[in-house]
Point group: C2
DNA sequence: GTATCTGTTATAGTTATAGTATAACAGTTA
DNA sequence: TAACTGTTATACTATAACTATAACAGATAC
């Protein structure tokens, strides 16, 4: 579990944690069915409160990334992450709009923008970062 | 000034305001040099506090979208918005990474993702939304 | 059976952010 | 002089993030 948190960042710790685990899944560092640390052990590893870890786990569970079994522990969803549905695509578009609007204002062209996206895609699918 | 705020949203009002104005510039509803309402009039138009508007204006000023003249008022930057620099590109990449990581997890392919971006680009450059 | 491990729930406190409500100041303009 | 700019200051409420404990319920290992 290589978790990299920035305690100076204004981005909440639990959000950073959520993203790091999603990144791990995207990068295939975490495979379906694989176990994650318990809320207590991960919290003490990172040096944060167990509620902060729990909050991240709850969000990941809600979005289908992991499963939480009361007495067994936490595992990456063995059935894989639920595929993109209409709701997800709408949310994605909503999230992309501000980025693209600002890029247009800053004369950052569509081609450059798409190239950047491709670069990030490749970055994940290539393996380790 | 067509401003559309969602008071139920968890996204802060001043952030929504910032984005709406950036969108307006991207869509060329607002042209360089064009005047924006005063903090007081916009605040009373929308039905919010003048400090909330001021906070949005200050952020837009900091990022070069607008200029604020103490006794004249607020105008869209006559010199145009500063072009994308290295710092901006890095920030953009940082913002895109979570979206792309989750898309990969959800089996939302690179082609679909890029198509969505193109669609949004077209949406802005076509004119009104 | 007792101890230890799970996730879960509850309570309480601190800190920071968002938003509002007033009020006042310093210039500009009609 | 009056009405308009942005700006600054103070104060208050509400909420989110994070921490600190404590306890509960079920599973498992000795």
């Amino acid at each position: 579990m290589l978790i990299n948190l920035d305690f100076e960042s204004s981005e909440p710790i639990y959000q950073q944690l959520v993203f790091q685990i999603i990144e791990g899944i995207a990068r295939k560092d975490f495979r379906p069915g694989e176990a994650l640390p318990s809320v207590r052990s991960l919290a003490s590893d990172i040096g944060i409160n167990l509620h902060t870890v729990n909050k991240a786990y709850q969000q990941l569970k809600l979005e289908g990334f992991i499963q939480i079994h009361r007495q067994k522990g936490v595992v990456i969803n063995p059935d894989g992450v639920p595929k993109a549905d209409e709701r997800y695509k709408q949310q994605l578009e909503k999230n992309l709009r501000p980025l693209i609007a600002e890029s247009i204002c800053r004369d950052y062209g569509e081609e450059e923008f798409l190239l950047l996206c491709k670069m990030i895609y490749k970055n994940y699918q290539g393996g380790r970062t």
